[in-house]
Assembly symmetry: C2
Homo-oligomer: 485 residues x 2
């Protein structure tokens, strides 16, 4: 439904009707994209090939809309284990470049987190399956659905032979889940070429805070991902033959990992909170205004109890305070059964979500020093190696920016409500990269509901979010155009 304020009411209605009528085609296209196992996390040649196939398919889709498309070769990456893998190309696409119109650049990614049915999926993760209006599949909401929603919005104007109100640029990568390898260099290279004419940057790679109420996002946390490797020898031991006389690597590793946080989730690394931005009154008020039913949120998360009991504490610890999570251990016995092994070499993995104004290189030093200290206290004869394998900065935007106002109006038009002004606890490295390099306004305009389950089993996007989201992007084109009328 269109808000009275909108001068484009007729056109809006026409575009929305088109999208309602053609939604099954949109879903079908999403099904084709989800079918590709574009997993960038597991460094396996077969999966890299799938990523290349995914990027080629998206490029073809954009060309069909009349966009000029470049596939930027990013060469290859060397992995810690020595093997070299090709990096999927980045799509740089452009549709329209009329001087009078503002240029909006959309960023998205088409790589996904690993998923196998054995992990506990109720359906094949790579076969988009609709149940009660929910479209289940890996990448459905993170981030293939939103990328297609943008493309759906572009296509609507084209099919309806309506003038596209803005010049559109699109940048799509295939390594976001692996830390956007080599993307920053590309953006730097293209700063004065592809990005020179860009006025606004839009990212739609997160979720709302509720199941029905839309949101605008003005900040994301960074991430420093660490590996801590403890080695006795490059071969396992039999726990009967050697148990009792060894400094066992697993004993060292659990002590190291156990020293990182207390049972209340507080990070114990000295100095880690020193650079966390102080809480202002203005910021504090934002949390109170947010429409979040804690009980509903807890239920939809299927968590018995959180570390905190108030909406404000919960939101602040997800958005504006750092967190540390232990992800797992490589090299130990990880299968069902009862193997009596003393692993000879184990690699612990954990990461810290960073907030303004924490700095990855400072955090790296603090973690190194802390773990070296803990390890030295053990007088272990094993070897320990700590390395930060990913270092991604946090990002925060000015919510008074014009682009944010335009997005609010578009949301009013499509959903008839004001958005929640929120942050995202996860990391979208590109936001900070765009902000620093291109120095244009970056907007995060999410489409997915809070319970979409990105990165976990049974990821989904609701058909309603996917279709209304496509409308939202179309309405946003018109609102941004108005900023320049």
């Amino acid at each position: 439904m269109s808000s009275p304020s909108s001068p484009h009411a007729g056109l809006v209605e026409k575009v929305f009707r088109y999208m309602d009528l053609h939604q099954d085609e949109f879903v079908q296209r999403l099904k084709e994209w989800v079918a590709i196992e574009s997993d960038s996390v597991q460094p396996v040649p077969r999966l890299r090939q799938e990523l290349f196939r995914m990027m080629a398919l998206a490029a073809e889709e954009l060309r069909r809309l009349g966009a000029s498309v470049d596939l930027e070769d990013l060469g290859s990456q060397q992995l810690p284990d020595g093997q070299t893998l090709p990096i999927p190309p980045v799509i740089l696409a452009e549709l329209g470049n009329e001087p009078g119109k503002p240029t909006v650049c959309f960023y998205g990614h088409l790589d996904v987190q690993p998923a196998t049915q054995a992990d506990g999926w109720l359906t094949d993760p790579y076969t988009l399956t609709e149940v009660d209006g929910k479209l289940y599949g890996r990448g459905a909401t993170d981030n293939k659905g939103p990328v297609l929603a943008w493309i759906n919005a572009m296509s609507a104007f084209r099919v309806l032979e309506e003038d596209l109100p803005v010049n559109i640029k699109v940048i799509i990568e295939g390594m976001e889940e692996a830390g956007s390898v080599a993307l920053e260099e590309l953006v730097k290279r293209e700063k004065d070429r592809f990005f020179s004419s860009v006025d606004y940057i839009v990212i739609s790679d997160n979720l709302w805070l509720s199941q029905r109420r839309p949101a605008l996002i003005y900040g994301t946390r960074g991430n420093s991902y660490f590996t801590v490797e403890v080695t006795c020898r490059d071969q396992d031991f039999h726990s009967g033959t050697f148990g009792g006389i060894l400094h066992e690597p697993m004993a060292d590793l659990v002590a190291l990992l156990g020293s990182l946080t207390d049972s209340a989730g507080h990070i114990l690394i000295p100095g880690i909170y020193d650079h966390v931005a102080p809480l202002t009154e203005e910021e504090k008020e934002l949390y109170g205004a947010i429409d979040l039913d804690l009980e509903e949120y807890r239920n939809s998360s299927r968590v018995k109890k959180f570390l905190f009991n108030t909406k404000e504490e919960i939101l602040m610890h997800l958005w504006r305070y750092p967190s540390l999570s232990i992800h797992g251990i490589e090299g130990a016995f990880d299968e069902p059964g009862t193997k009596t092994v003393i692993p000879g070499r184990v690699i612990g993995k954990f990461s810290i979500r960073l907030v303004p104004h924490m700095n990855t290189s400072v955090v790296e030093k603090q973690v190194q020093q802390h773990l070296q200290y803990i390890f030295s206290q053990r007088n272990s004869s094993n070897q320990m190696d700590v390395s930060m394998v990913l270092g991604l900065h946090p990002w925060i935007a000015d919510i008074k920016d014009h682009q944010y106002l335009a997005a609010k109006r578009a949301i009013k038009t499509v959903f008839g409500t004001e958005p929640d002004m929120i942050r995202d606890g996860s990391t979208i490295p590109i936001a900070k990269i765009f902000q620093d390099i291109i120095q244009k306004s970056v907007l995060m305009l999410p489409l997915g509901a809070v319970d979409d389950g990105e990165h976990s089993q049974n990821e989904k996007i609701n058909r309603w979010n996917y279709i209304e989201g496509s409308k939202l992007f179309a309405a946003f084109f018109l609102e941004v155009a108005q900023l320049h009328e």
Copy 2:
């Protein structure tokens, strides 16, 4: 070379010469057995089929020697995850039952620990490969080689048409590495049938303490294998979306695992040492007598530094004191790469090697209470479940037993030296089971060298140990017969 004391010198020479001449056939047979992936640890239908194939092949081999062979069906086992798998049959074989002769019963197992080339094997684990007189392959020393050495000894007398000096019984199982599932019940059932006429029981499922000097083993440690499961929900979380507000299962688990031992390997579970047998002067002297070059042992183990610096301390902590090893974690991220996941449900696995006079049910209570206490201190909202999935008792023999004296003489005959009188830190559950149920003398007569690497990558048995070991069993038959002349 035969010792002057032996009255069977001529026969001994004849048998040994036969074995030297036919050693390539013996190696070829071992190659055929190693080629079967009889892994009982990973509960996979395909591997169970391999186990059945292995048992059938061994039964056929024994029948070829004229033995009467039964394949005892042990039904199936229910796994924690609910699936049901068939248990491979146990071989009960018998060759000769002349009243005048003693009856020696040999126990062995033909199942193996998991092995893949990816684990770091230099050769295919299931293709027996000889390099410098070393026969590399999974199960070569644990326990397929020794089982075949016994069969080689039986066959020598048959081929040479010499009277077998003892009645021989053989019991071979296929679930030893998985805790000898259902074997104890079988031994109880057969107590007054198959085992009624048995005078001596021989097990050869361990290693010497040196590379060249043979050993007799008079004790083994038990094993209590525990799983500790921590559950927040049956689905993983995204560390960006939920990091900071959860009691993370991995944080609870590393704290629990970290509370089990100190950095000196001392077990911190209250009361765990209460039932450890006090050290007598007589026992103490045994350790001093043992010929162990610590430096050589350390080098062959490829360990930079042990927890202890003297031969006596090392041996006592491997044999007569308990040890605790953490084997790994199931359910966390265990692959290469940087997955940003908060595992929703994780299962830690550790085991305690028990010594006389520790009791599995007492240990189970102590571990339960300790972990419950540690967990309660964390005020975690997660659920914790501790269970002892294996409980195997320690075993100790009387080294003044006649069978031990016979074995010493056989060793003198074959190797021209006295054996080390040692224990084994690992667990051979069947020893204690035989001792308790059959109540006959149990002897452990190992064939493999200290560096055979059972349970680890590049497991091997030396051709020399395999062939001389076959001779040792033949000589042992004659020495045992003499006990009854």
